[in-house]
């Protein structure tokens, strides 16, 4: 292992140039944050991020021969992921892509202490279990649709 000189005045590290947009670190600002829909209803926790080669690039810049991506092509977040990817983040491994619940990055309206979406959670795949529980378990118990804040 090559040891690096360390400390706050580490001359081996160049100062980071100013970036043209807002900076987000995946673990610090995105992963494991609560995702809320347009009505502030919780959707899920952000379990993982899907990364893709930025669209609109010339085809010859995509190293397609073994599907491997590297630093020569720009990569962007294409979607927020939730669902079984939580299990694999905890225990390792990787679920097949068909098991991901994808929330496209284009639907993200704001990233703060929570991630806001610009769509309603009712139509999302990520919340099907919530809807199933509502329709088949909780909704069938008398009083399940009673509003506790309405009338005592």
């Amino acid at each position: 292992m090559r040891r690096t000189r360390t400390g706050p005045r580490d001359l081996s590290r160049e100062p980071e140039p100013q970036q043209p947009g807002r900076i987000l670190d995946a673990r610090l600002h995105l992963l494991d944050r609560q995702v809320l829909d347009i009505d502030d209803l919780p959707v899920c926790t952000l379990d993982d991020l899907e990364l893709e080669v930025a669209g609109g690039e010339p085809a010859d810049r995509v190293p397609a021969e073994d599907g491997r991506i590297d630093g020569s092509v720009p990569v962007v977040i294409s979607a927020l992921l939730t669902g079984p990817v939580l299990g694999t983040r905890v225990f390792g491994g990787r679920p097949p892509a068909s098991r991901w619940y994808r929330l496209p990055w284009a639907h993200v309206s704001d990233v703060g202490t929570v991630v806001h979406l610009s769509v309603r959670s009712a139509g999302l795949d990520a919340t099907w279990l919530e809807r199933w529980t509502r329709d088949h378990v909780v909704g069938r118990i008398p009083g399940g649709t009673h509003d506790p804040e309405g009338s005592g």
């Binding site: 899920c44 919530e130 399940g144």
Partner: protein, 409 residues
């Protein structure tokens, strides 16, 4: 202005009434009957700790709108937070079992109907309240009725003790007939009873349920800083009752009914009735809080919709989690396990599970990204750090001491 004063008074009163749960009741009585008041200092340490902890988590909830377990997941990542979830959920369900059992035992005191028959009734009542009743109504009613436990403090006065003698007991010392390991084991149990993780989950999530904002911070601080210490005084009053009547008689507390004996001696039938109302309300309130906490922790870790302010149909998995927790509680109590023994274990495991919950709150309370200008001040950080050490030491010592002393045997 008048209504604001009323709100503050109500908040303080509910904090006093809501402070005590089955863990506090049992542990204080057991400790009082074995150690007198020589462990009362631990209640003080625990009360300051829960004030610091609840205040920080309440502040984080009010400023950032994030409840405690969302923060834990965000800061610790899915793996460590998952471990914490398993531990916290286990302790919270254990506490829920203890509380539901406590309701049943308290109801038995008023009815002489066997507590095992009361268990399903108590659990059903808890569920109905969770299902139908408005959050603040629930909080205020149980809190105010729980104030009836002031009966223990009244009893101490009516017993007319030699105050100098009682005061002398407050000095921390290991009684002659007990070993140091047992003394410290019960110190950790008392500490865990005062600082249970569910209180923090409930407090911060409750802040979100009540839609606290930065403006409510002063109120929440006052509720905590006045209400919890007064609740702690009630804990000490229970220990004092046990120390004054049960210790000299050679009675070791192993059932809830023994709690009423000093009260009967002091204040007669009426005071006993008042205290029984308090016991039912305190355990019922705590059962609600622990049941909600199981829902809160699970939902916040997994990002489900949660909250009592939503219709059950709008937070279905949250409500389902609480129903399952109550079913588990009934199932465990139906195995004829002694609820008092469950309570005694739950407070010790609380102490073990605390640091993982405490650390993320302390970290986030210092993070300007969440807190803006409301980050912890210097005094709060010094206190916070001191308690971080206390919690870690207590958590590490709890299990070895439990094994060495055969759970306080």
């Amino acid at each position: 202005m008048k209504s604001r004063l009323l709100t503050v008074a109500l908040g303080i009163l509910t904090a006093i009434g809501g402070f005590l749960d089955a863990g506090d009741l049992v542990t204080n009585a057991v400790v009082g009957s074995r150690f007198g008041l020589s462990l009362a200092w631990v209640v003080g340490v625990g009360v300051v700790g829960i004030c610091v902890f609840a205040h920080m988590s309440g502040k984080v909830a009010a400023v950032s709108g994030r409840a405690t377990f969302e923060i834990i997941r965000e800061r610790l990542g899915p793996r460590t937070a998952g471990l914490n979830l398993v531990a916290s959920l286990a302790v919270t369900v254990l506490t829920l079992i203890a509380e539901v059992g406590g309701i049943a035992l308290a109801l038995q005191l008023a009815s002489s109907v066997d507590h095992r028959l009361w268990v399903p009734v108590a659990a059903l009542a808890v569920w109905l309240v969770l299902w139908r009743v408005k959050f603040d109504v629930m909080e205020n009613v149980t809190g105010l009725l729980g104030l009836a436990l002031v009966g223990f403090a009244v009893a101490v006065f009516l017993l007319g003790p030699d105050w100098g003698d009682l005061g002398a007991q407050l000095v921390p010392q290991v009684p002659a007939q007990e070993s140091a390991a047992v003394y410290w084991y019960f110190a950790i149990a008392l500490f865990g009873a005062a600082m249970t993780p569910y209180e923090v989950f409930f407090f911060s999530s409750g802040g979100v349920e009540d839609r606290w904002t930065v403006r409510d911070l002063a109120t929440s601080r006052l509720n905590v800083l006045v209400g919890f210490p007064l609740g702690g005084l009630l804990s000490v009053a229970i220990a004092a009752c046990a120390a004054l009547v049960l210790l000299p008689a050679g009675i070791q507390v192993d059932s809830m009914s023994q709690l009423t004996l000093p009260v009967a001696q002091a204040g007669g039938t009426l005071l006993v009735a008042v205290v029984i109302v308090g016991l039912v309300a305190a355990t019922f309130g705590a059962a609600l809080e622990t049941a909600l906490s199981t829902g809160y922790t699970l939902s916040q870790y997994l990002g489900w919709s949660w909250g009592k302010f939503r219709r059950p149909a709008a937070a279905p998995r949250f409500h389902l989690a609480m129903i399952l927790a109550l079913v588990v509680a009934i199932g465990v109590l139906m195995t004829n396990v002694d609820p008092i023994a469950v309570t005694e274990y739950s407070v010790v495991f609380s102490a073990v599970a605390l640091p993982l919950t405490y650390l993320p709150i302390l970290v986030v309370a210092n993070d300007p990204e969440y807190m803006g200008e409301h980050v912890n001040g210097r005094a709060m950080n010094v206190l916070g750090t001191v308690y971080l050490f206390v919690l870690v030491v207590a958590a590490l010592a709890a299990i070895p001491l439990m094994i060495a002393t055969e759970a306080g045997g």
